[in-house]
């Protein structure tokens, strides 16, 4: 077929071209989040006295950090779904989250006696925390990858990683409602590890699932 002929056929095709990436990703993310919230309720109980704990400073840092991560990574994913949309500056803004964590850890190390550092780092059950957060991220990651297929990610590995990062941050945000550990040492180690794992899964899934 000649290119002119192809163009004629393309122009004649007026079937709708699917939802915009922002709409598709929002719906997919919301669906995944609902699934993960159900999984969360089945998996672990809410933290006792959550209402009171919520107003204490060491607790509050967690939703602030995760909320920031959610917002910035969501913007990055949306941009990575659209060819030609700049994303480098958005990615560089992600550095704000580890910066906050490092500062908070430094403050904690200064305030807490050395003997207690390891206790705080290990928390109540760090391995369960990592495992649960990774599990909770999977439905969200799956949904976001489906959402990304409605976009046109020109860097599938990076887009997948972004989806994994967003899924991990959302899963961690859910898990905050259970996690009894408020130490920033704990958060900086295990939240980070769990989110890194979901980011890695996304990066590996991207090139396989996001081709178009």
């Amino acid at each position: 077929m000649k290119t002119d002929d192809l163009i004629r056929a393309l122009a004649a095709d007026r079937e709708p071209s699917g939802p915009k990436p922002g709409v598709a990703l929002t719906l997919a993310g919301a669906a995944g989040l609902i699934l993960s919230a159900l999984l969360f309720m089945w998996l672990v109980p809410l933290r006792p006295h959550l209402g009171e704990v919520m107003r204490t400073f060491p607790f509050m840092l967690k939703p602030i950090e995760m909320g920031l991560l959610v917002i910035v990574s969501a913007v990055a994913v949306l941009r990575l779904a659209q060819p030609g949309a700049p994303y480098a500056r958005t990615l560089s803004m992600l550095a704000a989250v580890p910066a906050i964590m490092i500062a908070a850890v430094a403050v904690e190390l200064m305030q807490v006696p050395r003997a207690e550092w390891m206790v705080r780092l290990a928390g109540v059950h760090w391995y369960l925390c990592v495992l649960n957060m990774v599990l909770l991220s999977l439905p969200i990651l799956g949904a976001l990858l489906i959402g990304l297929r409605f976009g046109a990610p020109t860097q599938p590995a990076l887009a997948g990683a972004g989806a994994g990062l967003l899924a991990g941050a959302l899963a961690a945000s859910l898990y905050i409602a259970h996690c009894p550990d408020d130490s920033q040492l704990f958060v900086a180690a295990w939240f980070t590890l769990a989110i890194a794992i979901s980011t890695g899964i996304g990066a590996m899934a991207g090139p396989r699932l996001l081709r178009w």
Binding site: M1, T3, I7, L10, D13, G18, P83, G84
Partner: protein, 182 residues
């Protein structure tokens, strides 16, 4: 933004409001601008320039199928360049070429030059033969014979809705076939 990009942007906006002629014009302009870039991109990745027209067609189908991913508040040039670059790398990978492609020269001057389809009558490999019969007839009538949806429906004794669906699916199948082999 260059004049040419501004024009594409206008045409694409009109197309989104349902102006089919503007859309066709937009795709033709984009095809002309793509050709020299695609040829250069392919030769840089070690793929024969004979594949140019084939890859241009792949890019056009992608632009069509992914047209909802252009955000009207952003310049259209980088959007098209992004799709083109992705498809050139994809084509090179499937044809065993190198897969690195510097972005700079590509994104900047996409809009600067133009080249009509070469006079060589070599029919590109994107043939309709692989399509199921119903889709093939519809695509052939509309693409090659230039028939309208209504005329095609009459000729093939189908409803216009069925023609639209067959056309849409046929184009989707053409794109998919190319992703899977080539």
């Amino acid at each position: 933004m260059s004049d040419r990009e501004a024009q594409w942007s206008l045409l694409m906006r009109a197309a989104r409001k349902g102006d089919g002629a503007a859309y066709e014009c937009c795709l033709r302009e984009i095809a002309q601008a793509l050709r020299p870039r695609v040829r250069r991109g392919l030769s840089r990745t070690g793929v024969s320039p004979d594949e140019t027209e084939d890859v241009v067609q792949e890019i056009l189908i992608a632009v069509h199928q992914k047209r909802q991913t252009w955000d009207e508040t952003r310049p259209i040039g980088p959007w098209i360049a992004g799709i083109a670059r992705y498809k050139i790398i994809d084509a090179a990978r499937r044809r065993g070429g190198r897969i690195e492609l510097p972005i700079e020269d590509f994104a900047e001057s996409l809009a600067a030059e133009a080249e009509p389809e070469t006079a060589s009558e070599r029919d590109v490999s994107r043939s309709l033969d692989a399509l199921p019969e119903g889709q093939r007839k519809v695509v052939r009538l509309i693409a090659i014979d230039g028939a309208s949806i209504a005329v095609t429906a009459q000729t093939l004794n189908m409803t216009e809705g069925a023609v639209r669906v067959a056309l849409h699916r046929g184009l989707g199948a053409l794109a998919k076939r190319h992703r899977n082999n080539a």
